[in-house]
C-alpha cells in the first residue's frame, strides 16, 4: 500500500482519538442531563489556557499543569450546571441550547479580555517515530493513548461504581430512577463534573497539538457535536466509534484533496447521516 495513504489512515485514527474524548463528555452530559452544552469546546479552550498559563507563566511542571486542568474544568462544568442549566431544566430544549450558546460567547469574550487574541503555544513536542514505512507524530500518539486510557477509566467508572450505575440508569429512565431512591439532582451534578473533567482531559491532549486562542473552540467544536449526534446522542459507544470514522474521513479526505475539502466531506457526510439514520449510525 502507498505509505502516504497508510500514514493518512494512521493519522485519521489518531485524530479520532482526540475527537473521541470531547464527544464522550458531551454525550455523557446529554445522555444524563438531557441538555446540549453548546459551549463544550469553549470549556476545552479554557482548559487549554489553564495548562498554558500554569506551564509557561506560573512555571509548574507539565504533568502538574495537566493534573490541575482536570479538576479546574470539572469545577467549570459544575458551575455551568448550577448557574445556567439547572434553572432551565424545565424550559424548552432550544432555550437551554441558546443559554449555553451565551456561555460560549462569555468564555470567548473572557478569554479575549484576559489573554488577548494572540496564538499561544506550549512549545512541547515529541520526536516523530518511524514504524515500518510510516512516520507517526509522537505527540499525537501519546495523546491518542491518553484518550483511550481516559475513555477506559470512564467506562470502568460507569460500569463498576454505584454512582456510575446510577448515571447509566438515569440516562435510560428519568422518571423511575428517583423512585428507586436516586437523587437526580446529585447525579446531574456528578455527570456535569465528569463531563467537565473530560473536557479538561481533552484540553491537555489538544494543547500539545494546537496553539491556543480564544476562538480555537470553533475549529473542533462543530465537529464534536456532529460526532456525538452521528453516534446517537447519549449513546457513548456510538459516539466513540463515530469519532474514529470522522477522523478517518477528514484524514483520508485531506490525503486526496485539501484539508478544507476533507471537512466539507465530513460535514456533508454528517448531514446525509442525519437524513438517513437520524437516530445515529450505531443505534440498535
Amino acid at each position: 500500500m502507498d505509505p502516504f495513504f497508510l500514514e493518512a489512515l494512521v493519522n485519521g485514527i489518531l485524530l479520532g482519538g482526540v475527537f473521541a474524548l470531547p464527544a464522550l463528555g458531551l454525550n455523557l452530559v446529554f445522555g444524563v442531563v438531557d441538555v446540549v452544552w453548546l459551549c463544550y469546546a469553549e470549556l476545552v479552550m479554557v482548559g487549554m489556557y489553564a495548562v498554558w498559563f500554569l506551564y509557561t507563566q506560573a512555571g509548574w511542571p507539565l504533568w502538574l499543569a495537566f493534573a490541575a486542568c482536570l479538576p479546574i474544568i470539572a469545577v467549570f462544568g459544575l458551575l455551568l450546571h448550577l448557574l445556567v442549566v439547572r434553572p432551565l431544566l424545565t424550559s424548552p430544549p432550544i432555550n437551554q441550547v441558546l443559554a449555553t450558546g451565551g456561555v460560549l460567547f462569555v468564555l470567548q469574550g473572557a478569554a479575549t479580555l484576559v489573554f488577548s487574541t494572540e496564538f499561544r503555544s506550549l512549545g512541547v513536542d515529541m520526536p516523530p517515530m518511524e514504524v515500518g514505512e510510516v512516520f507517526v507524530s509522537g505527540t499525537k500518539l501519546a495523546a491518542f493513548c491518553a484518550a483511550l486510557l481516559g475513555a477506559g477509566v470512564l467506562w470502568a467508572f460507569l460500569k463498576f461504581t454505584y454512582v456510575g450505575t446510577a448515571i447509566r440508569a438515569i440516562a435510560r429512565d428519568r422518571e423511575v430512577m428517583p423512585l428507586m431512591g436516586v437523587d437526580p439532582r446529585r447525579i446531574y451534578l456528578i455527570a456535569s463534573a465528569v463531563g467537565g473533567a473530560l473536557a479538561g482531559l481533552a484540553a491537555c491532549l489538544l494543547v500539545v497539538q494546537l496553539d491556543v486562542h480564544p476562538f480555537v473552540g470553533l475549529s473542533f467544536g462543530p465537529i464534536t457535536f456532529m460526532i456525538c449526534v452521528m453516534g446517537g446522542l447519549g449513546n457513548m459507544l456510538g459516539g466513540f466509534l463515530a469519532a474514529f470514522l470522522m477522523g478517518l474521513i477528514i484524514s483520508v479526505g485531506g490525503f486526496w484533496g485539501t484539508t478544507e475539502f476533507s471537512y466539507v466531506i465530513a460535514f456533508a457526510f454528517f448531514i446525509v447521516t442525519m437524513f438517513v439514520r437520524p437516530q445515529g449510525l450505531f443505534a440498535r
Binding site: G102, F105, V106, V229, E260, V264, I271, F275, V276
Partner: protein, 328 residues
C-alpha cells in the same frame, strides 16, 4: 388598505431622516441596525415555528458572495446580482430543507444539520480563495466615475433608503404570513407534527414555504450588508459565529412579535457600538462577554424576549375586552 396607511407614513418619516443631516456615524449605526434587523426578522420567521436554524449565516454569505463575484468577474450590476444571489441562497435553503423536512429532522437534530450546512458554506468560501479571497476577504471593484448608481455604490442616504425598503418588505412578509392559513398550519406543526399531518396539513410544503421566505430575507440582508460595507469575509458572513449572533438578536428582542427582531438588532448593535466607544478597541472581548451574559440572562428570566414583556402586559387587557364583549 387602511391598515397600511400608518406604517407607510412611519416608513416615509424614517426615510426622510437624512434631511435632518445627522452625523455620518449615526447613519452608519442606523443602517447596520436595520440590516441586522432584517436578518433577524428572516431568522425568526422559521425560529418562531420551532425551526431553529444555526446556519442562517450561510445564506447571508451565499447571496453576498454570489453578488460580489458576479460584479467583479462579469460586471453584472448588484441590482441584478442581489436577486440572483438571493435565488442562489433560497435554492440552497430548499436543497437542505426538503430532505430535512421530508425525513422529519426536527429539534436538536435540525439545529445541528443547519449548523453543519453553515460550516460547509464557510469552509467552501475559504477554500475557493482564488475567487473569494479566502479568509482575507474580498472587496467589490470600485465603480467607474459616474457609475455609482449602477454599481450600487452610493452614500449613506442611498443605503438608508434601500435598507429601510428591504426591512419594511420583511415586516410586510411577516404580516402577510401571519394573516395566511400557513401561519395557523405552521403553529399547529410546531405543536405536534403528527397531529397536524393527520388533519391534512401538508407539513413539508408549509415548512418549505416559510423556509423560502426566511432565507430570502436573510440573504437580502447579507447581500446589502456586504454591498454597504464594500467588504466581504467568511467569518462575518457565514459560519457559526454570525449565525449565533443572528439568533441572539432575534431571541433577545423576542421572536414571536413582528418588531421583536428589530428591537433585538437595536440592542445588539447599540450594545456593540456602546461597548466599542466605552471600552475602546483594545477591549474587544468585552462585547461578546456582555452579549453572552445577556443571552444567558434572557433565557433565564425573559425567554420570550423584550417584546414578550409587552405581550404579557397586553394580554390581560385583551382578555378583559373579550369578556366585556361577550357579556355586552
Amino acid at each position: 388598505m387602511k391598515d397600511y396607511i400608518l406604517p407607510a407614513v412611519a416608513l416615509a418619516a424614517l426615510m426622510a431622516l437624512p434631511l435632518l443631516s445627522p452625523p455620518d456615524y449615526v447613519m452608519h449605526v442606523l443602517i447596520t441596525m436595520v440590516l441586522t434587523a432584517l436578518a433577524g426578522t428572516g431568522w425568526a420567521m422559521m425560529g418562531r415555528y420551532g425551526l431553529v436554524s444555526f446556519g442562517h449565516g450561510a445564506f447571508l454569505g451565499a447571496a453576498a458572495y454570489t453578488m460580489a463575484i458576479l460584479w467583479n468577474s462579469i460586471g453584472l450590476t448588484p441590482w441584478i446580482g442581489i436577486p440572483v444571489g438571493v435565488v442562489v441562497a433560497v435554492l440552497m435553503g430548499m436543497l437542505l430543507g426538503y430532505p430535512a423536512f421530508r425525513l422529519r429532522v426536527v429539534g436538536h437534530y435540525f439545529a445541528l444539520v443547519t449548523l453543519a450546512a453553515g460550516e460547509i458554506v464557510r469552509i467552501l468560501i475559504v477554500a475557493m480563495r482564488d475567487i473569494t479571497g479566502g479568509s482575507l476577504g474580498m472587496t467589490p471593484a470600485q465603480a467607474a466615475p459616474g457609475g455609482g448608481f449602477l454599481a450600487m455604490q452610493f452614500d449613506k442616504t442611498g443605503f438608508w433608503w434601500l435598507s429601510l425598503v428591504a426591512w419594511a418588505a420583511g415586516l410586510l412578509a411577516w404580516r402577510l404570513l401571519d394573516r395566511s392559513m400557513s401561519s395557523k398550519a405552521l403553529a399547529a406543526i410546531s405543536e405536534d407534527e403528527d397531529a397536524a399531518a393527520s388533519i391534512g396539513i401538508r407539513v413539508t410544503r408549509e415548512k418549505m414555504k416559510v423556509t423560502v421566505i426566511s432565507v430570502a430575507l436573510a440573504a437580502t440582508a447579507g447581500a446589502l450588508t456586504a454591498q454597504y460595507r464594500q467588504y466581504l469575509n467568511p467569518e462575518s458572513l457565514a459560519g457559526l459565529g454570525i449565525s449565533l449572533q443572528i439568533v441572539f438578536g432575534a431571541i433577545a428582542g423576542g421572536m414571536y412579535a413582528p418588531f421583536g427582531p428589530t428591537i433585538g438588532a437595536a440592542i445588539t448593535i447599540g450594545l456593540e457600538e456602546g461597548l466599542r466607544i466605552g471600552f475602546g478597541t483594545e477591549f474587544t472581548g468585552a462585547a461578546p462577554l456582555v452579549y453572552g451574559l445577556l443571552l444567558v440572562l434572557f433565557m433565564l428570566f425573559l425567554p420570550r424576549g423584550i417584546a414578550g414583556m409587552f405581550e404579557r402586559r397586553a394580554k390581560p387587557a385583551a382578555a378583559k375586552k373579550a369578556v366585556g364583549e361577550a357579556t355586552a
